[in-house]
């Protein structure tokens, strides 16, 4: 019989089994590294099952590989897993980033390895669970679970004496809004008696979640704020810079963006379409500001990790802009860009980690002239920078182009203005990335490289980087391979969301509280 009905369970919990195995293994030599690599590679192999057995022909918006088992009778919690065009590639992405993370930590993590790899695998379980869960309660369990390993990873494996502060900050920023999320979820459950996402989405489509517009509005904010902090969206990014500059490379690679962006797409948009429509202009403006803000701040940083943090803020803002335009191009491009940003960002952080391994600093003023000594590392930096900059033929260009063109097509007020502002991001990203390359790689040898003899990429590092580079090219040239699934989610979602506002005025008259009074 086919393993399709249980494949998601296998994928989600395989890393957990791996974590248990690692906990039992002795911490000798490279045993843990090899074991972690094996576990993550097998997980990745398992996730590849999904695109190969995904039925592209089936009707749009339906879930596949579903597994729905009643778990707790009251409250009605189901063990309900399933994926669609939105989550499928995110599962695969989570699958491929994990072995790369192990490869890049090979030498960088040399003490308390067992703790590190166990936490790392638990983090993966949480992310897989987030992407696969269709029951809101189950989802929330994974969402909270994702918080803990990351906090500990930052607190213990951070690079400087500020790591505890960064960890606390991360935890508070993530935990407090999660409480809002929980309250809002429970309210939704109280209203509908179900945690099941497809059911909730159907109810929302009939405007049957709750007659109380004001409460619905507040609940939608509970969801959105929790997700926005976690993305993060400007100006809620207070935790990002510290967390990124402290966290070890493998953790940073999966730190920001994708789970929260996914959650907005999956939960906020399905359960609160009208409310999302109402808040979209605000989100679009915040995203456009975030693009410029992140770009400008990245331009004045001397610390490479801080530069990367602000760059991440800017890149994530592109995605936020795209999904809130409620156009096909914006949603498709935004979702595609989640994959691209994760890959390019991960590669960028990997490279920064490699620099740090060699020269023990992230201060770019101490670098210079490295291109003479480490040509391969320099070449990789250039390629990754070009992806982040959005060079055509590489992956991010497709995503960014669709996002911005979607923004130009959107029906919200001042969309020309916001598109123009957001498009300046392409100038800024070129400016800060090329400035970084010049400082680190060009010119005369800097103070650090003069004293320390670095070494160019070794085989393991090549192995970690080349798949990403190959994906940059493939995803930049053959986007429909990925986009087909994404479009099956994006196109109907765009239609649904763009028309969501029409229902509100008609309903508002029938409701006890006019929607306008909810502000």
């Amino acid at each position: 019989m086919s393993i399709n009905p249980i494949i998601l369970t296998i994928i989600v919990f395989f890393p957990l089994a791996g974590a248990l195995l690692l906990a039992l293994l002795p911490d000798r030599g490279k045993t843990l590294q090899w074991a972690a690599l094996a576990v993550t590679l097998i997980t990745f192999g398992l996730t590849l099952h999904l695109p190969f057995h995904y039925s592209y022909a089936s009707s749009a918006g339906s879930f596949q590989f579903e597994q729905n088992v009643p778990w707790i009778a009251s409250p009605a919690i189901h063990y309900h897993l399933g994926i669609d065009g939105l989550s499928m590639w995110l599962m695969v992405l989570t699958g491929i980033l994990a072995p790369l993370g192990v490869l890049i930590s090979w030498r960088a993590i040399d003490s308390r390895k067992k703790l590190f790899y166990v936490l790392f695998l638990l983090q993966q379980v949480a992310m897989m669970g987030i992407f696969a869960s269709l029951d809101m309660f189950l989802y929330y369990a994974f969402w909270e679970m994702s918080l803990v390993p990351m906090t500990v990873l930052i607190a213990i494996f951070g690079r400087s004496e500020y790591r505890r502060r960064a960890a606390i900050k991360y935890f508070l920023y993530a935990f407090i809004p999660s409480a809002l999320l929980l309250a809002a979820m429970l309210w939704v459950y109280a209203q509908t008696g179900t945690f099941d996402l497809p059911k909730l989405a159907a109810l929302a489509a009939q405007h049957a979640i709750s007659p109380n517009a004001a409460a619905l509005w507040i609940a939608s904010l509970g969801f959105l704020i929790a997700f926005s902090v976690k993305v993060p969206i400007f100006p809620l990014h207070g935790w990002l810079v510290d967390a990124i500059s402290e966290a070890p490379t493998a953790a940073v690679m999966v730190l920001a963006g994708k789970t929260a962006l996914y959650s907005i797409l999956r939960f906020s948009f399905s359960i609160f379409p009208e409310q999302s429509h109402r808040i979209a202009p605000l989100m679009i403006s915040l995203a456009a500001i975030g693009i410029v803000y992140g770009g400008l701040l990245a331009l004045v940083q001397h610390d490479l990790k801080k530069l990367a943090a602000y760059s991440t803020l800017g890149q994530l803002s592109f995605i936020v802009l795209g999904i809130f335009t409620f156009t096909v191009a914006g949603l498709d491009g935004g979702i595609y860009q989640i994959l691209n940003e994760s890959l390019a960002g991960a590669a960028f952080f990997m490279l920064l980690g490699l620099l740090y391994e060699r020269y023990s600093t992230y201060d770019m003023r101490l670098y210079g002239g490295l291109a003479q000594k480490l040509p391969w590392l320099a070449a990789m930096f250039v390629v990754v920078s070009l992806s982040i900059v959005g060079l055509p033929m590489l992956n991010s260009f497709v995503g960014e182009f669709l996002v911005l063109s979607g923004s130009m097509q959107s029906s919200f007020a001042h969309h020309h203005l916001w598109t123009a502002i957001a498009t300046t991001g392409v100038i800024l990203s070129a400016a800060y990335m090329l400035r970084m390359i010049q400082r680190v790689f060009y010119g005369e040898l800097g103070p650090k490289p003069q004293v320390i003899t670095g070494w160019d990429l070794d085989a393991r590092e090549h192995l970690a980087l080349w798949p990403v580079v190959a994906l940059f090219l493939a995803m930049g040239l053959a986007s429909p391979r990925w986009m087909q699934a994404i479009d099956s989610f994006g196109a109907p979602a765009a239609g649904r969301l763009a028309s969501a506002q029409c229902a509100t005025p008609a309903d508002a008259t029938a409701l006890p509280t006019p929607s306008g009074g909810a502000r």
Partner: protein, 688 residues
């Protein structure tokens, strides 16, 4: 008739890409002869295919366009609901000319580079980047839609960035590469917005579909739809970046930091003409908006005269040529702006020949002097490097507009079309163009005299008073032979003529600079203006072609006479200033010191941008955004939120200790809270 070339179109870009991949990955380990062999082979093959294309398309009954869609991975490039872009290539007569320039001149410059770069470190890197450039440039001219054109557009920018910064150990080179890329990005910002608007209003990015939709909706133009001029002007911003026009020209002079063959190929013959090509390609869009056309013409004319004025006082031989390129590109835009697209493309063609020649010859001079670029330290080279001298002479005469050299016909065509154009500003534009022609002739003969005539001044530079140009009589003249005490390696082995591998390309380009203009001899001079008829299928219906047709030959001849006179005047002034009475120019500059300094310092434009744009922006970012917003508000509010829980701070300090058990405890407490709320929630639900 012959469908064969269709299926081979994609080879034109792909072959140089293969060359790039081989040299880029393995080149470090290969011997130099293999590296250059690969690079030459993968540029010669596309040139061969292009020659074959020419034969096919010039045959009787040949189609006006051929098209070919490539699906390299079995799928199109972008395909979502309601929007679709594929890798579509197309060839029409305009593309043919561009392809000939790109692959032909490109190949010639590759040959030259074998000699020029022979002693450079990173030989393989140079040829890998050059092939990469050829790949992107071919994509640019072959593209059948805006987005694919944009691939080439950005890609040539990348190749240009890499090649300008080829000597990346030099800060000035790395800076120049970065500047070029970022300034081009400002133009690309416009290009991107134009594409977004095209998608909104036309629903497609394919040239064919966009122009067909435009032709089907003449009411847009009649009703004055705002989006048409907006799109055209945004595209123009892109063109201004790529083709170094006001206000984005500032990157091109700095781009001279790159090796000279790069300047010849990318920053003279091909890449910088991409903006002109794009405007010509999208002429239907520009024709639909008189406002946009006028802006094109004004921008071109202003850039032409502005850059020419700076070119008159530069001392660096390559910078003179750089400003001259900017100025000549302005000419091409002027032609487009008055609707004379064919004239613009004609000038693009002849300019590619003579400007590539001038750069390569300048490179040969620099090579002969072992790296010297300052014309104040040249002079009297005529007999030392005769082949370089004679070929460069052909280039100088061509650009100065002396008949029957190539530049004369194309420049004259532009001036004539400008004069007869329906644009209300046509007389002003013509006068600017004419004056620019005079200035061009002056600074090119200035370069010619200073480099090849007079007393040799090849000697360590004697610093003289800033401002006044150095001239023969004020400098100690010395022999050209190296002196033992000279520490500069530049003069180690005296002046020498370049090897044949560099001279042969010069000779070929010199021939083309003489005869290249003969394809466009106007009817007034008993020719038949082949090139314009050749381009008719592409530019049919452009306004200027009709206006010009009604004007008599008498006017054309008298205008040509005037422009030849102006060119000769430029020659005469240069002759007097730099040959007959070499002190004159210095004295003149002395008398008009403030004006001279203004021009000498390039009107302080770089400084203006820096002071009023970049510095304030960075200051704003550091002070307002970083200190006030990010550290103050964003982190401050986070800190404030933290402060509200400061009562619990001791718990945090204890709990966030990296202790797994304490986290487990927290999680348990959280879970308990959740379950409590669940039960509570259920109770609540009972009440609701």
């Amino acid at each position: 008739m012959n469908p064969m070339p269709t299926s081979y179109l994609w080879l034109i870009p792909l072959l140089p890409f293969v060359g790039f991949l081989i040299n880029g990955t393995l080149g470090r380990r290969l011997p130099r002869s293999v590296v250059s062999g690969i690079a030459l082979l993968f540029t010669a093959l596309p040139a061969g295919i292009v020659a074959w294309l020419w034969m096919t398309m010039c045959a009787v009954h040949a189609p006006n366009t051929i098209e070919s869609v490539v699906r390299p991975f079995g799928v199109d490039w972008i395909d979502i609901s309601g929007f679709h872009v594929d890798f579509a290539f197309t060839v029409d007569h305009l593309t043919l000319i561009m392809l000939a320039v790109v692959t032909g001149v490109g190949f010639i410059i590759h040959i030259y580079s074998v000699g020029y770069m022979a002693h450079e470190e990173g030989y393989w890197r140079f040829f890998a980047y050059m092939n990469l450039f050829m790949f992107f440039m071919s994509v640019l001219v072959l593209a059948a839609n805006f987005l694919l054109l944009f691939v080439g557009w950005e890609g040539v920018g990348l190749a240009s960035y890499l090649l300008i910064g080829f000597y990346f150990k030099k800060d000035s080179a790395a800076d120049a590469g970065k500047k070029a890329f970022i300034v081009n990005r400002i133009g690309d910002f416009g290009f991107l917005l134009a594409m977004f608007l095209l998608i909104v209003h036309f629903g497609s990015l394919s040239f064919k579909e966009v122009f067909a939709t435009l032709a089907q909706n003449p009411q847009w133009q009649l009703q004055g739809a705002h989006f048409l001029p907006t799109i055209a002007l945004l595209l123009l911003l892109g063109a201004a970046g790529k083709s170094a026009q006001i206000p984005l020209y500032i990157w091109l002079p700095d781009a001279m930091e790159g090796p000279t063959p790069v300047s010849a190929l990318i920053h003279a013959a091909t890449m910088v003409t991409a903006g002109v090509y794009m405007v010509a390609r999208c002429h239907a869009l520009f024709d639909s908006s008189p406002l946009a056309l006028t802006v094109v013409a004004l921008m071109g004319a202003a850039t032409a005269i502005f850059a020419a004025s700076i070119g008159m006082v530069q001392h660096d031989i390559k910078r003179v040529l750089a400003y001259s390129t900017i100025s000549q590109l302005g000419y091409m835009f002027l032609a487009c702006g008055v609707g004379a697209y064919a004239a613009g493309i004609f000038h693009l063609l002849t300019h590619a020949f003579f400007k590539a020649l001038l750069f390569l010859a300048a490179g040969s001079v620099i090579h002969a002097l072992s790296g010297e670029q300052d014309m104040r330290r040249m002079g009297g080279l005529r007999e030392k490097i005769p082949v370089t001298f004679w070929t460069m002479t052909a280039g100088v005469f061509a650009i100065a507009g002396i008949p029957p050299f190539a530049g004369f016909f194309s420049k004259d065509e532009i001036l004539f079309r400008t004069f007869t154009s329906p644009n209300p500003l046509h007389i002003l534009l013509w006068l600017v163009g004419l004056l620019t022609a005079g200035m061009t002739s002056f600074y090119m003969f200035r370069l010619w005299f200073k480099t090849f005539f007079g007393e040799p001044r090849v000697k360590r530079h004697v610093l003289e008073e800033d401002g006044a140009p150095i001239h023969a009589s004020s400098t100690t003249t010395l022999t050209l032979e190296a002196e033992p005490d000279q520490d500069k390696a530049t003069h180690a082995h005296g002046v020498h003529e370049s090897p044949w591998v560099m001279l042969l390309p010069l000779v070929v380009l010199a021939l083309l600079s003489v005869v290249g203009g003969w394809v466009g001899i106007p009817a007034a001079l008993f020719g038949s203006n082949h090139i314009e008829h050749f381009l008719d299928p592409v530019f049919a219906g452009a306004p200027a072609s009709e206006a010009a047709a009604t004007t008599g030959h008498g006017l054309e001849l008298s205008l040509a006479f005037v422009s030849v006179l102006v060119a000769l005047a430029g020659f005469y002034i240069a002759y007097v200033f730099y040959y007959e009475k070499p002190g004159t120019a210095g004295a003149l500059a002395e008398r008009n010191r403030s004006a001279y300094n203004l021009v000498k310092n390039k009107y302080w434009v770089d400084e203006l941008y820096s002071t009023f744009l970049i510095t304030p922006l960075l200051m704003f970012t550091r002070v307002v955004l970083e200190l006030m917003v990010d550290h103050g508000i964003v982190n401050g509010s986070g800190a404030a939120a933290g402060a509200t829980t400061r009562g619990l701070a001791w718990i945090e300090r204890k709990q966030i200790s990296g202790n797994i058990r304490s986290y487990a405890g927290w999680l348990a407490i959280g879970a308990a809270a959740v379950i409590a709320v669940m039960i509570f929630g259920n109770v609540m639900k009972g009440h609701l």
